[in-house]
Amino acid sequence: MSKVGAVFLREYLERVRRRSFWIGLLLVPLFMGAVIILPMWLAGVQEDSASTVLVVDETGRYKADFEAAIQDTLAGGAPRYVFLDRGLDAAGLDASRLAEPAYLATLLDGELLDWFIVIPADVATGGEVAFHGRVVSNFTLLEVLESRLTDLLRRERLARLELDPRLLEQIQVHARLRTYQHKGGEASEAGFESLYLSTMVMVMILYMTIIVFGSMIQRSILEDKNQHVTEVVLSSMDATRFFTGKILGIGAVGLTQYLAWLVMALAAALFGLLTAAQFQQLPSLQPATFAYFVAFYVLGFLLYAGLFAAAGAMSTTDQEAQQLQQPLIMLLIVPLVIIIYIFQNPDAPFSTVMSLIPFFAPLVMFMRVNISSPPAWQIVLAFALLIGTIAGAYFVSGRIFRVGILMTGKKASLAEAWRWVRRP
C-alpha cells in the first residue's frame, strides 16, 4: 500500500470509528429537521384566546364596519375579539371616559384592555390612525388592521366619487412576470427565487464544509504535532504527501457524512415524511449545474484544506490556531458579502474579476455559472488558476509544514514562515 494511502486510511478509519462521528451523523439531520419544521409549525399556531379591544372612532362612520371586518372566531367558535364598549355592564368602568386616551392608557396598564385603536376625524384626508397596546410586535395583527382600514377608506373614496364600492373587488389585479433563462441555446423556466435558493444552498454547503473540515484538518495537524507523531511520519515520507493523505482522509470523512445524509433524506422521502408538494418546492437541479458544483466543491475544499493545514503547522496551541484561522475565514466571507451584487450583475467586470481570483472562484464562479452564462474561456481560466494555486499552496504548505512541525515552542511569524518556504 502506498504511504499516502496509509495516512489516508488511518485518518479516515480513526475518525469514522469514533462515537462522535456517529452522533454527529444522527444529530445534524435531527437538528436540521427541527430548524425547518419547527418554525413552519409555530407559524401555524396562533395565540388562541380572546382579546379585549376597543375601537375609538372620532369620525363616527367606520366603527361598526371596521369591527365587523376584523372580527374572527377562535377554534372553539367564540369570537376572537371582545369589544370593551359592547354589552358592557363593566365592573368599575367609566363608560363616559372611553374616548379619553389617558383613561384608556390606565386600562391598558391594568390589563383590562389588550389594545385600542384611534381613528382620527381627518382619517379620510390623510390623518394617522394610532394603535396603542402593550405589545406592538405582532405584525400579523397589525397587517390585518392596516389592510381592513385601507379597504374601508378606499370604499369611502369610491362612494364619494359616486362609484359602486364593488368596483374595489373588480379592479384588483396583479401583473406577474414569468422568467425564462436562456443558457447554451436552451430556455428553462427559472425565477430569481429558485435560482437564488439553489445557488445559496450549494454555496452554503460549500462554505460550511470548508469551515468545518478546514478547521478539523488544522486541529488534526496541531494534534499530530503536539503528540510528536509527525517526526516518525516525516522520516518515511515527504510532508506534502503526508498532508495530502491527511486532507483526503478528512475529506472522505465529509463525503461519507454527506452521502449518509443523502441516503437518510431519500429514505425519509420514501417513508413519506416529505410530501410530494414539498418535493416540488426543491429547486430543480440541472446535471451541468451539479457537475460544476462537484468540481468547484472539490477544488475549493482542497485549496482551503491546504491553507488550513499550513495554519495548523504554524501554530502550537488551539488559541494560536484560531488566530491564524481568522484571515482564512475572511477570505471565505468576501464572496458572501458580494453575493447580491453578483446576482444582479453576474457579468459585470467586478464579478468577472472576483470569479477568477482562486480564493473566491469556487463560490463566485459557481454562482456565475449557475445564474448566467460566462464565456467558456473564463470558466477554463478560473479552473486553471484554481488548480495552479492549489499546487502552489501545497508546495508552500509542505515547506511550512516540514519546519513548523518540529517547532513546538512558539507560534511562527509570517516572516519566519516565509523564510521556511524559501529555505526549509
Binding site: R10, Q227, V229, V232, L234, S235, L406
Partner: protein, 305 residues
C-alpha cells in the same frame, strides 16, 4: 553505509552542526555521544530527511539518500509520540505501512512483537491505556517492524526504568548479532561503554573524537599505570620514560608514560629492579574520556555526567 560530508546546519544564526565528516560503520553499534545541545539530534534528523542541511551532503555508498533507502532505516525520535486514541495494534500497523509493509504483513509482525513484549492482551486497547514504559516498548517495536538494516535511535534510554533498559539493550545486542547497523545517541556513558563498537563524540556541533571504542580507550589508557612494589621509588620517578609520577602511599605508584613508550618494555625493566606485586594499565572510562575531550576542546558547559 551512511556518509556525512561537511554537513552543517544553523538555526537562527546559531550553528548547531558544524561541518561534520563522518562515516557510520556497517554492521556495528555506533554510539553518537555528546553533551546536551551538542547537535546529535539535529544530525540524526538530517540523516532522516526531517530537516535539510544548510551545507554538505549525506550519502549512502556515494549516492544521495533515496526514499527506498530510507525505507530500510528504522528511526526512533528523541521526542517519542504515539496517537493516544489509536488502538495499539492499528498504530503499529500504521507505522509499518509507512515503511512500505503490506497491512497484513505489518499486522502479523506487530502481533509477534506484542507477544514478545508481553503486551499481546493490549493489542486492541488504546495507546493511552498503556503505561509510559509500555508505550516506549510499543514505539521501539514499531521502529523495528520492517526489519531495518540500519537503526537510528535518538536517546533510546531516556526515561526507561532499569528493566526496560535491560530489555532494550538485549534487543540492540540481538540486532548487532544479526548483522544490523545500530546508531544511537546518548549522553549516558555507561550505556555507550557496554554497547558500542564505535563511538563518535561531538561537541558544539563539531566531531571531536571518533573511532573504535577499544582503540579510543587504549589511546587514552596506554599511558596510565598503577604499580604496587617494593624497592627504590627513584627507579620509577627517575625513569626518563615517565612523564609524571605520584606515590599515594609507600610502595604504591601512579604513573603516566610519555607518548610512544611501550608498556611491556617498562614492565620488563622495572621488574628486574623492583619486586612488583601489582602492575595495572588503567583503562579510562568513557566518562573520563568524554570529560577530558570536551574540556580539551573548551566546550561542554552543560556536560552531562
Amino acid at each position: 553505509m551512511i556518509e556525512l560530508h561537511g554537513v552543517s546546519k544553523r538555526f537562527d544564526g546559531k550553528t548547531a552542526v558544524d561541518a561534520i565528516d563522518y562515516r557510520f560503520a556497517t554492521g556495528r553499534v555506533t554510539g553518537f555521544l555528546g553533551p546536551n545541545g551538542a547537535g546529535k539530534s539535529t544530525t540524526i534528523r538530517m540523516v532522516m530527511n526531517i530537516i535539510a542541511p544548510d551545507a554538505g551532503r549525506i550519502t549512502a555508498g556515494g549516492e544521495p539518500l533515496s526514499e527506498a533507502f530510507r525505507n530500510r532505516l528504522g528511526y526512533l525520535p528523541e521526542e517519542r509520540g504515539l496517537y493516544k486514541k489509536m488502538r495499539v495494534l492499528d498504530h503499529m500497523v500504521f507505522f509499518g505501512s509507512l515503511k512500505g509493509l503490506s497491512r497484513s504483513e505489518a499486522r502479523r509482525r506487530s502481533l509477534a512483537w506484542l507477544e514478545r513484549l508481553g503486551l499481546a492482551d493490549r493489542a486492541q486497547g488504546e495507546v493511552d491505556e498503556l503505561s509510559k514504559g509500555m508505550q516506549q516498548k510499543v514505539q521501539f517495536a514499531s521502529t523495528l517492524l520492517h526489519e531495518p538494516e540500519l537503526v537510528l535511535l535518538d536517546e533510546p534510554f531516556s526515561g526507561l526504568d532499569p528493566i526496560n533498559t535491560e530489555a532494550l539493550r538485549d534487543i540492540m545486542m540481538e540486532l548487532r548479532a544479526a548483522g544490523h547497523t545500530v546508531i544511537f545517541s546518548t549522553h549516558m556513558m555507561e550505556q555507550a561503554e557496554r554497547l558500542c563498537d564505535e563511538i563518535a563524540l561531538i561537541d558544539e556541533g563539531r566531531l571531536v573524537l571518533a573511532g573504535e571504542l577499544n582503540a579510543v580507550r587504549s589511546s587514552f589508557g596506554r599511558r596510565h599505570l598503577r604499580v604496587h612494589f617494593q624497592g627504590e621509588e627513584s627507579v620509577l620517578a627517575g625513569d626518563p620514560r615517565v612523564e609524571r609520577c605520584q606515590f599515594p602511599a609507600p610502595g604504591r605508584a601512579e604513573l603516566d608514560l610519555r607518548d610512544g613508550k611501550d608498556v611491556p618494555d617498562v614492565a620488563r625493566d622495572w621488574s628486574a629492579r623492583l619486586s612488583i606485586s601489582h602492575f595495572e594499565v588503567i583503562v579510562p572510562s568513557l566518562h573520563n574520556i568524554f570529560i577530558q575531550t570536551v574540556r580539551a576542546t573548551g566546550g561542554g558547559k552543560e556536560a552531562a555526567p
